[in-house]
């Protein structure tokens, strides 16, 4: 539900209201469908595990109707232009970390996220931000994996320094 809701909203709340309404209605319908799909084990209560999805789904659909109503009523307001490139850098950084976490380990994957985020905020010197991210992620790995017993994914770099 959130994908369609995220990509198109923003510039005009007027249009955004309809997109949100669509997202809410879809989510509501999904919940009602799943609510009915569950085998009924209501017992003494008279309602089972399907009741809450149905009820919440219904309210979501009502809220979708509310959004349609307010979208028709209100006029479009000028909305500040958003910097979608910056969003791309951060989301890209998060996905890069996700993909590289296992093969390259926490330190390198997180350093890349660090540099991408800095780039999103307008800092373009990767030759500075990448080493800075590496050092920070490395210290964080040492402190959390070593001292605080948090189990972080390790790979070449971590094994090299801390041993297998």
């Amino acid at each position: 539900m959130s994908a369609s809701r995220q990509n198109n909203n923003g510039r005009r709340p007027f249009g955004a209201a309809f997109i949100i309404a669509l997202g809410l209605a879809a989510l509501g319908a999904l919940l009602i469908w799943q609510g009915f799909a569950l085998p009924d084990k209501s017992g003494y209560a008279g309602i089972g595990s399907g009741a809450a999805p149905k009820a919440i789904g219904t309210v979501l659909i009502l809220l979708a109707l509310g959004h349609v109503y307010s979208g028709l009523k209100s006029t479009a307001l000028p909305h500040p232009h958003q910097n979608w490139g910056a969003i791309g850098w951060i989301v890209g950084g998060l996905l890069l970390q996700l993909v590289l976490l296992k093969p390259l380990g926490f330190t390198i994957a997180s350093a890349l996220l660090f540099a991408c985020t800095a780039r999103a905020m307008g800092y373009k010197k990767f030759q500075v931000s990448l080493p800075a991210g590496l050092i920070l992620a490395f210290v964080v790995y040492g402190v959390f994996d070593g001292l605080l017993k948090l189990n972080l994914p390790a790979s070449v770099l971590e094994h090299l320094v801390f041993g297998g």
């Binding site: 959130s2 995220q6 909203n9 923003g10 955004a16 949100i20 809410l24 989510l27 919940l31 799943q34 569950l38 085998p39 084990k41 209501s42 017992g43 003494y44 209560a45 008279g46 309602i47 089972g48 595990s49 009741a51 809450a52 999805p53 919440i56 309210v59 979501l60 809220l63 509310g66 307010s70 958003q82 910097n83 979608w84 910056a86 969003i87 850098w89 951060i90 989301v91 998060l94 970390q97 996700l98 976490l101 997180s110 996220l113 660090f114 985020t117 800095a118 780039r119 999103a120 905020m121 800075a132 991210g133 920070l136 964080v140 959390f144 001292l147 605080l148 017993k149 948090l150 972080l152």
Partner: protein
């Protein structure tokens, strides 16, 4: 006075050097992160949750509480010197505090905020200690229907009562409630909405959600604003101390702020932002210098700062005695308790009195530590405000993912982090409140279980929900809290409510 005895015992527990060290760590980290602009107590606790995984329960809970209190203290510094509130409860502080800083009175503003927070934190923590046993006794007569009614009330106050639109608040709440359904149903063991993904069987983690919404969402929001020069930090001019006049003008405001803040926090009546707003209004009305308001009146800093700290202590009352989180921060703290298999509530006072009273006592100690951290050492924290934005947010995202990876290094969690981060960004962009999602996510399953238990006891008779005076009253208040603000908005009086809108706690 049984509380007194328990508190003394708690103090002897809390004086353990290891626990003192955890408290000190907590308040230091809390202040540090709380000072950073854009990070409130909710995110501070969520970000620092992984720090405590390897520690013992008592130590980590004391650390959480220290982080919470420290975050509240730290936020005021940012508001005063930067005019960007460090946390939403400090928005009001920013009005007068920043004016004082511009007028070269940043020192006294910081001092009255710190001492006011101390006074309020101390009094409110004592109030917590003395009121808790009574509520625990009361809670013993609570059945599922009373708990359900209380949760409904909490839902309404956190989502629809304040803010600029009830519909937006309810939308956030119900998105949270919908996400809360994912996973195994606690009563029948049936799987709901997991769509065959094994990682979803446990449901959506509150901490993942909170970190995604508050940290990733905020980072995206800040990055997406094109115009965005860093705000100017006002150097602290003069010593961080107050003149005799400042003291005279502050002390009543501190006490009034405490008196306003604690009950608001303790009842499910909204969080610290509402308390600080009401306190500001009160000070403005009662002041002998009304003309100074808007130009740097010290009461306008003293009152709200005391109120928001008192409210923070107040929210611990329902959290510890009933297991009921009424703010986003409390919801994350509850997740923290649960990670050690502890369920706050009346039983915890009976089964782990040493832990509960040690925690309450350590809050008193944390307060003293915070006073020291925030008065003589304030200049160290102020340096944090000069960190450039790109390094700051790069670091925040690194820590945000660290928590998720450390608990559960599965791609599913990280994908959730990204998706909910985008959701949080969209909600910020379009002015949907964030806190109801988090509160809905954690309270939703609890409310559902209580409802179904209540109905099972009554053999499916829905009138059971209003069959005791207490549950009927609670549901009645919840209905009023939903309807009255809607009428106020319809009559064009919504501006007041919009101002009280709080995002984080």
């Amino acid at each position: 006075m049984e509380s007194f005895g328990f508190l003394m015992q708690g103090l002897s527990t809390a004086m353990d050097p290891a626990l003192l060290f955890y408290a000190l760590m907590g308040v230091t980290l809390g202040t540090m992160v709380g000072v950073l602009p854009g990070i409130g107590p909710a995110l501070t606790v969520a970000l620092l949750l992984p720090v405590t995984y390897g520690l013992d329960p008592a130590g980590s809970l004391i650390m959480f509480a220290g982080i919470y209190y420290g975050g509240m203290y730290g936020g005021s510094t940012t508001s005063i010197l930067l005019n960007t509130p460090g946390e939403s409860a400090s928005i009001v502080t920013a009005i007068e505090g920043n004016k004082m800083a511009r007028a070269g009175r940043g020192g006294p503003a910081l001092a009255t905020a710190a001492i006011g927070s101390f006074v309020a934190g101390l009094l409110a923590t004592l109030a917590l200690a003395f009121i808790a046993p009574t509520i625990v006794k009361l809670a013993l007569v609570f059945g599922p229907r009373e708990y359900f009614a209380l949760m409904v009330l909490a839902f309404v106050t956190v989502s629809a009562a304040f803010g600029d639109s009830a519909m937006k608040g309810l939308t956030s709440l119900f998105v949270g409630l919908a996400l809360a359904l994912v996973g195994i149903d606690g009563l029948t063991g049936q799987t709901r909405l997991a769509f065959g993904v094994p990682q979803l069987l446990d449901g959506i983690e509150v901490t993942t959600m909170a970190v995604a919404m508050f940290a990733v969402g905020e980072a995206l929001f800040v990055a997406a604003r094109i115009e965005g020069a860093d705000e100017k930090v006002h150097a602290i001019s003069g010593a961080v101390r107050m003149t005799t006049t400042d003291w005279k003008r502050s002390w009543k405001a501190w006490l009034r702020g405490t008196a306003i803040g604690f009950p608001i926090g303790a009842m499910p009546a909204g969080g610290a932002d509402i308390a600080s707003f009401l306190s500001y209004g009160t000070e403005k009305r009662l002041s002998n210098h009304p003309e100074e308001f808007g130009h740097g009146a010290i009461e306008g800093v003293a009152g709200p700062e005391a109120a928001n700290n008192a409210a923070a202590a107040g929210t611990l009352v329902p959290l510890l005695t009933l297991g009921l989180p009424t703010t986003a921060t409390a919801a994350i703290m509850l997740a923290g308790f649960q990670q050690f298999g502890l369920q706050p509530g009346p039983l915890l006072f009976a089964t782990a009195p040493k832990l509960v009273w040690g925690l309450i006592a350590s809050l008193l100690i944390a307060n003293v530590m915070l006073l020291i951290l925030n008065l003589p050492l304030i200049r160290i924290w102020v340096k944090l405000l000069t960190i450039p934005r790109h390094w700051l947010y790069a670091g925040i995202l690194l820590f945000a993912t660290l928590g998720t990876i450390g608990v559960n290094p599965s791609p599913v969690e990280l994908v959730q982090l990204t998706i909910f981060g985008l959701l949080g960004f969209g909600m910020r962009l379009l002015n949907y409140p964030i806190a109801p999602v988090v509160v809905g996510l954690i309270l939703g399953p609890m409310a559902e279980q209580q409802l179904r238990r209540a109905l099972a006891i009554a053999q499916g008779d829905w009138t059971t929900l209003v069959s005791t005076p207490l549950s009927a009253t609670l549901l009645g208040i919840a209905a009023l809290a939903l309807i009255v603000p809607m009428l106020m908005r319809a009559r064009g009086k919504g501006a007041v409510l919009a101002q009280i809108a709080g995002d984080e706690d």
